[in-house]
């Protein structure tokens, strides 16, 4: 027990050295470390360095609604082509389905066949795919097309993935460094923006779907009618009180844009957004403008008409300009949104936590002060209450904290204020193992054992208890990590790592120190 093979001693010292090496980069500024050194630093959490944490929720209902609407559009076209009469075509987003009734029950099979072609394949795992719509019919000619579970899942997942990509692009455009964007749960996106004190502009940018479409107006529509004619919708304009009869058919989509930049119109100095289409968009836009010279078309952004100019001549160069009473910032934001692309569904900020840099600095100061005072208290208590073995434990405790920092650095973990609290508490819990061992040794000495045998018995008998009692801490921290969120997770991580490190440093390391001390001094009695 007290004998350590030479390689074991080397391994123990090696672990400590590794700990020092991994911790060192934290003492240097990032820029002082050459890029070829694989060094990692502990990142400070937003509560310590200041910044903004946003939790966004993807409106998955909108995704379902959109799919059902496109299904309804497709159904209208197909059934008309197949000369099948139908009634009551209805999308029911709440039930994830579309219903209609075929007039002639004899045509139900034909209608089903036509509708089946509208289904898109979705992956169902194992490389297989299945149609995303389940069709069912009843004897009276009622047909229901329900989106399958797999389809809903695939669609939701796709929408969230795509949203993350768009969110990333939009934030990149704003120039925020080191933004962290990650998926959370089924429908949420977590965004961390270090150093951002006023996240309003970013929230603004993320709050817009930015779906831009180019569509034609229906000049013959009666704007006073309560219901727009089929295939047309009444949309409001940017200016209050304006309404336009816009055709539902999308001629060119914003997805076909290749670039968009804010600029000033050379004639009147107004702020505009200049855009250019990719090759597909250029071709389509050229066709549309050629066929519709003299007619108005609308540029629609998120169901609002930004502008509805009359086409004076065919536009074949694939370039255009949007003017709509923009301010400089407005034009710039729109350009950013168009460049980054449209979100597949609206996003809502469901949680925001923003901390300014002063409060972060205050928090660091408070955390470090607590750490220092806690260290003095615990080290002092251990030394005074347990003597030499207490000082050994203290040395091990310092190594324990070092290893904890090393592990956090190696993991690239984020240190939050609760995380600092976790380190401070680790001071208190880590010495538990040494207290157990010391008390045990003491008992063995009092039971009349000679020093060596008391030391051995102390370490051996206490080790089982140490294992048992520390596991309970780890269980509690695992529960906290899995179900907690944000900074509290940082606490769970530091306490868990601290506990594991203490199981090593308090037993192995202290045993090494005790053995070295015993072999050099050969004491007759133990200082317990």
């Amino acid at each position: 027990m007290l004998y350590f093979a030479r390689w074991k001693v080397a391994a123990i010292l090696g672990v400590i050295l590794l700990g020092v090496l991994l911790t060192l980069p934290n003492l240097l500024p990032r820029s002082a470390i050459p890029s070829w050194v694989p060094a990692r630093q502990i990142a400070l959490g937003l509560d310590l360095r200041g910044g903004s944490y946003l939790l966004l929720e993807v409106d998955l209902n909108a995704v379902v609604r959109e799919r059902l609407e496109s299904l309804a559009d497709g159904a209208r076209t197909r059934l008309r082509q197949a000369n099948i009469g139908y009634l009551n075509l209805q999308a029911q987003p709440a039930a994830n389905r579309l219903t209609l009734r075929v007039r002639e029950p004899g045509q139900v099979q034909a209608a089903l066949a036509a509708l089946r072609e509208l289904a898109n394949p979705v992956p169902v795992g194992g490389g297989a795919t299945a149609p995303d719509v389940d069709l069912a019919s009843e004897p009276d000619g009622t047909i229901t097309a329900t989106l399958s579970e797999a389809a809903l899942r695939a669609r939701a997942s796709g929408a969230v993935e795509q949203s993350i990509e768009i969110v990333r692009r939009r934030i990149d455009e704003t120039g925020v460094a080191e933004a962290l964007i990650a998926r959370q749960g089924a429908s949420r996106i977590l965004v961390q923006l270090p150093g951002v004190e006023d996240p309003n502009r970013i929230k603004d940018l993320l709050g817009r779907t930015a779906r831009m479409t180019f569509r034609l107006l229906d000049e013959n529509a009666n704007m006073q009618a309560a219901v727009p004619p089929p295939g047309v919708e009444f949309l409001e304009g940017e200016q209050a009180g304006t309404r336009y009869p816009v055709r539902r058919r999308i001629e060119v989509d914003g997805a076909n844009l290749s670039d968009a930049r804010a600029g000033q119109d050379s004639r009147n100095g107004e702020w505009v957004v200049n855009f250019s289409f990719d090759s597909v968009g250029t071709r389509r836009f050229a066709d549309i403008t050629r066929q519709n010279v003299g007619r108005p078309f609308a540029i629609v952004l998120d169901n609002k008409v930004i502008t509805a100019p009359v086409i004076r001549e065919p536009i074949t160069g694939g370039r255009g300009q949007i003017s709509g009473n923009f301010t400089a910032a407005g034009a710039n934001d729109l350009a950013v949104l168009l460049r980054a692309g449209a979100l597949p569904a609206p996003l809502t900020v469901v949680e925001e936590r923003t901390v300014g840099p002063e409060l972060g600095a205050d928090a660091i100061r408070a955390g470090l002060l607590s750490l220092a005072v806690g260290a003095v208290f615990v080290l002092g208590y251990m030394g005074l209450a347990y003597g030499l073995f207490g000082w050994f434990a203290n040395l091990a405790l310092v190594v324990n904290i070092l290893l904890l920092m090393a592990a956090l650095s190696a993991l690239g973990a984020t240190l939050t204020l609760p995380g600092i609290a976790g380190i401070v508490l680790t001071l208190g819990t880590a010495v538990d193992a040494n207290i157990l061992i010391n008390e045990r040794i003491r008992e063995e000495v009092r039971a009349g054992r000679p020093p060596v045998s008391a030391l051995e018995a102390g370490f051996t008998k206490a080790s089982g208890t140490i294992m048992d009692s520390n596991l309970t801490n780890l269980i509690a921290m695992a529960c906290l990590y899995v179900l907690g969120s944000g900074p509290v997770r940082g606490f769970a991580v530091t306490v868990a790592i601290g506990t594991i490190a203490s199981m090593w440093s308090a037993t192995v390391l202290v045993r090494l120190m005790v053995s070295a001390w015993y072999r050099s001094r050969r004491p007759k009695t133990l200082p317990v």
Partner: protein, 324 residues
């Protein structure tokens, strides 16, 4: 070197306190405190923090001393519900609270409205901190926290059951419930906000408390094997006394690390740390007065079947079933 010897001992050697004698009183007293605590949880109730209640908190620093009256007037005019305003630290820092808004989306609308109004009533004021939590998120955080607490208790139950006998597990869980309810009472009395960090404190206390019980139980298991004929009551007393120094020592070091957090950790940590301090004291005393005595009720006849029969006839005292 004088520092190489221990200078003091909290519990003198050969301490033999008959804890079992006060067991009925101890458990009754603890149960009473827990019942009162549960009552306090309903009236006046827990002060739920923004994590669990939702709503908006903004810390605002005005250029000069803040005019609370003007701020209150303007913010009330926004029709966002009851506006809470209080001075926070110095007189140019104000903490503004708004209740949770109806829909998820309207929370951000409210934040923007406050920002706008602030520009008007106190130009140059800066917002040091914003926390805005919608009602769906806060409900989830609350549910998750309760689940975490529940699961951790079940995990502890399972762990101790696996490592010891079921009597130990039941004893530990009953004690844990008694402790946790007292922490709830503590939160209700001190008006410390019940938030994610408080839950973290409670979970830490649960881990620490079971850790404490495991050490005492471990010693009882060892003694059950060592003193095959000693009456359970005496054996429990002996085990508690033998581990008393360790129990108090570990609680001391933990207290010594939690106290600085409570005193110097700032507003964000003080609630967490005071909860820890209370929990450490509660769990240490319950390790001594509750967890072991409960075993006497549960295990009077079962844990020590070998007492009546002569020792050779009962080689497997049940206490060693899971021993190593």
């Amino acid at each position: 070197m004088f520092l190489s010897r221990p200078l003091f001992r909290i519990v003198p050697d050969n301490t033999q306190i008959a804890f079992m004698r006060g067991r009925v009183l101890g458990i009754a007293f603890s149960a009473l405190l827990s019942v009162i605590s549960l009552g306090l949880a309903f009236y006046p109730g827990l002060e739920k923090g923004i994590d669990f209640r939702g709503g908006i908190i903004m810390e605002i620093r005005t250029p000069g001393p803040a005019d609370l009256g003007a701020l209150r007037g303007t913010m009330s005019g926004l029709n966002l519900g009851d506006v809470g305003l209080q001075q926070f630290g110095d007189d140019s820092t104000v903490l503004l609270r708004l209740p949770v808004q109806g829909e998820e989306g309207s929370t951000q609308g409210a934040v923007n409205a406050v920002r706008g109004a602030l520009e008007q009533v106190a130009p140059g004021a800066r917002i040091l901190r914003t926390e805005a939590v919608g009602n769906r998120v806060s409900a989830e955080l609350f549910a998750n926290s309760l689940i975490a607490l529940g699961i951790s208790m079940l995990a502890m139950l399972a762990y101790i059951w696996f490592r010891f006998e079921w009597q130990f597990a039941v004893g530990a869980i009953v004690t844990l419930v008694l402790e946790t309810t007292k922490v709830v009472g503590f939160l209700a009395i001190t008006r410390i906000e019940f938030s994610l960090t408080t839950v973290a404190a409670v979970l830490t206390i649960i881990g620490f408390s079971i850790n404490d019980k495991v050490v005492v139980y471990d010693r009882m298991r060892e003694n059950l094997r060592k003193y095959k004929t000693m009456p359970l009551r005496q054996l429990i007393d002996r085990s508690i006394n033998e581990t008393l120094n360790r129990t108090v020592g570990t609680s001391m070091t933990l207290l010594l690390s939690a106290l600085p957090l409570a005193l110097f950790g700032g507003d964000a940590l003080s609630g967490f740390a005071w909860t820890m301090v209370f929990g450490i004291i509660a769990s240490t005393s319950s390790s001594i007065f509750i967890a072991a005595p409960i075993l006497l009720f549960l295990g009077e006849n079962r844990l020590r079947r070998g007492t009546e029969a002569p020792a050779p006839a009962s080689p497997g005292a049940s206490g060693s079933a899971t021993g190593r």
